[in-house]
Symmetry: C2
Subunit: 111 residues, 2 copies
């Protein structure tokens, strides 16, 4: 059975302010991304990847930015999606936030 | 920009107790599934689909069942994943719950 229980699970630390926990199948990966240290005074740098992405905001608020588009403020319960190769960024607007990111194909760089 | 703001969004009703809201890219779909009317006295019938699936429990508690495995109790913050074609079911253990389901490929039957 392929499960992850949050309590007692080990996070991958990304810098000092991001914790990542994930589950995967062959072609699908879902990542719990816990941010702290916010709010951020400016967005993270734009980045892109060939993977298609969806994101559910579990708590907190973020500014979601996509190249060539007006930034949009999203909060708990909202969703965004990113096409393959599209440049995007987020800016944490609250002290903490949790994003649930899903990717197809899987992010080999997260393993 | 491909976003869904929960407030004001229209849900697809599945029976009297399930509301579904979704976002998708070409090959990836993420669905907010809001359950009410729980707890359930027994699991939903087992079902399967060729799509790979992940699930994040946003709130509430569920029993996750997979054919041939011991059922496992999952709560907010936990994840499960289902391989292509694997029979599985859930049983709602709380009055309400929210599951964030992701699928590859997309569930054409949800469109």
């Amino acid at each position: 059975m392929n499960i992850l229980k949050f309590e007692g699970s080990k996070a991958t630390l990304v810098g000092a302010t991001i914790q990542r926990r994930l589950i995967r199948t062959n072609n699908l990966m879902t990542v719990i991304v816990d941010f702290s240290g916010g709010p951020m005074s400016e967005p993270d740098p734009y980045h892109s990847h060939p993977h298609e992405q969806t994101c559910y905001i579990a708590y907190g608020e973020v500014l979601f930015l996509e190249e060539g588009e007006e930034p949009v403020r999203l909060k708990a319960g909202d969703l965004f999606a990113v096409a393959s190769g599209k440049k995007h960024a987020i800016q944490l607007l609250t002290p903490t936030a949790r994003l649930i990111d899903s990717f197809n194909p899987i992010r080999e760089d997260f393993l």
